[in-house]
Subunit: 338 residues, 2 copies
DNA sequence: CTGAAAGCGCTTACAG
DNA sequence: CTGAAAGCGCTTACAG
């Protein structure tokens, strides 16, 4: 049996307006009618049609998560574990706050159009954007729009005309600095560095941490120890082989992400180089790093996810920048506690 | 400027009906009008309102993923990595097929009501259910309903009155059998077994594999080597300690999930027991297992996800049962290839 | 505190 | 091939 607000109204002997008022917690309904209607709603298991509600102007409880992944295709093996880790927590936080999550990827302008229409037509009440390159035009537009959005690891500087936007960032600089402290306090001087994607905020910040840490220790920066990369395992593997083929000396390694670190380790293993006692650090706390006996930095994505949801379901409308502190993960216990 | 189908119609000098026909690829529109309308749509960046379309009876492109997690709460540390792994692939597959995913958890009857309304009101076009215990009443109802659904690892037997349902299962029995083969061919006879949650299909099937493999080798089943458990790390840890405190002898271990295996290893380490040369297997291929030097079975969730999406976006309406083959993962290379 | 009515933006059966 | 009109199921401003 189809059951809609008209049926409920009939059953309760009132108009749909009154049913609607009860549904939306309006105060101007007699206690008697409210009770009666609520009972009938419950008895008949009535749930209002979300599409109709949205069409009529109500906000829904769905939050969009939009992941930028230009390489997405049927053959792609891109590891998006990092993002799903984040999404996982977002889904749980949303659930605990009575919201649901729509997950969508974004690759080209078709996707941009779709996402804009989700906002415009109220399929989602707000959105979280992650994985974007710096100065992405579409994202800038979202930031300036009237839609409530969170941008993750995108920029450290609030845009002048940003509206209802939370910029939330991993403290990449702080995390990188802690790693360098660990490395340098063991008296290492020749830290081999693998930089990440400079088109992303994280790539810039982690490199800045490396450079500043050396400067503060008055260690001359040796460009040949700084390998440009793009967060990919393959590139890092090639770079590491080049280093080993040259006569460049190093005493420690900081890879600005775990994914690259794995390529580095592969190259070391191939040459049977014993790296067990060397200070070697990655970043991101990908699931395999610490179990493999390596050290890394956790971006504490759960915190980021929690702050994001909190912002979106609050009625805060001012824009702001927030940071999530990172945490060093040195052993399996810290790994599981995290 | 607000732009709707009426505006497009005006601009093209036609009625909304014709615009709608173009939008929905109906054949009965003159080529001239179709072109003109398409151009205007493109020029004005018009995207139809999904809520209105759905309300008017169109199916949308959102697929729900519903994860059963009775312990979900603010303090919960439940590891749902397994599910998110699955969801990850589902999201990607959906994206490649022009669909989006709504992720939602399910804990109690309120959640059931919400999910039913998502179906009823067309907020989703179909749904995938994962993590459910056997004979869950709500799920049985969904299976019998007219909604198109996929149930993952739920039951091996098609229900008589199942409608438009794909039962998709990991080949737990096959995977467990392969593990036992590996263990037994090394001449082990006393295989310590940690069973999973018997309220789930996987718990039953993996235990069946253990029992049958021993029978086939004419090894007498020793109940004291079979530890009842519930997939939790804590319980497995306690069970392992009990074994070590007793004088029960074992020469190999098969834990029916990696999560429990970790508890088992903790207990072994505490007693400084050297297990490096022992045949030890987990199940599920959780991210840390193989990097820690242990062996496990991959449920090939990607295959399961792909088959699920394929079923849901096809126009198949008969119900059926399918299985996804598992794969043994013995070393880090196999781990990364997976 | 309550109801009749307009409006949200589409689709589709009907008539031509 | 095309348009006028009804319908999808709500909400809310208006009038009382």
């Amino acid at each position: 049996m189809k059951i809609d607000s008209i049926k409920i109204a009939e059953l309760a002997g009132v108009s749909r307006s009154t049913v609607s008022r009860v549904l939306n917690n309006h105060p101007n309904v007699s206690e008697k009618n409210r009770k009666k209607i609520l009972n009938i709603i419950d008895e008949y298991n009535y749930i209002p049609n979300l599409n109709a509600q949205t069409l009529a102007g109500k906000k829904n409880k769905v939050i969009g998560v939009f992941i930028y992944e230009p390489n997405m295709n049927a053959q792609s093996t891109t590891d998006t574990a990092y993002f799903m880790n984040f999404t996982d927590t977002v889904v749980k936080e949303a659930f605990l706050n009575n919201h649901q999550i729509l997950v969508d990827y974004l690759k080209d302008s078709n996707d941009e159009k779709r996402i804009e229409s989700f906002f415009k037509n109220g399929n989602i009440s707000s959105g979280i954007f992650i994985g974007f390159l710096r100065e992405n035009l579409f994202l800038e537009k979202m930031i300036e729009s009237d839609y409530k959005v969170v941008v993750v690891d995108y920029a450290s500087q609030l845009k002048d005309n940003a509206k209802k936007t939370l910029y939330i960032n991993t403290d990449d600089y702080g995390g990188g600095t802690s790693v360098m402290e660990e490395i340098l306090k063991k008296n290492n001087k020749k830290v081999l560095f693998f930089s990440g994607d400079k088109k992303k905020l994280s790539g810039l910040e982690r490199e800045r941490a490396y450079v500043e840490a050396l400067k503060n220790k008055n260690i001359v920066i040796n460009k040949t120890l700084m390998m440009e990369s793009d967060y990919s395992r393959e590139k890092a593997y090639e770079n590491m082989k080049k280093i080993l083929d040259s006569n460049i000396k190093f005493d420690s390694i900081f890879s600005s992400c775990d994914n690259m670190l794995f390529g580095v380790i592969e190259a070391l293993k191939e040459r049977s180089i014993d790296y067990k006692n060397m200070e070697i650090w990655g970043f991101d706390n990908l699931k395999y790093t610490v179990p493999m006996g390596l050290k890394t930095v956790s971006p504490m994505l759960k915190d980021t996810a929690k702050k994001s949801i909190k912002f979106l379901i609050s009625d805060i409308t001012e824009s702001k920048v927030e940071y999530t502190k990172t945490k060093l993960i040195k052993n399996i216990n810290e790994y599981f506690e995290n």
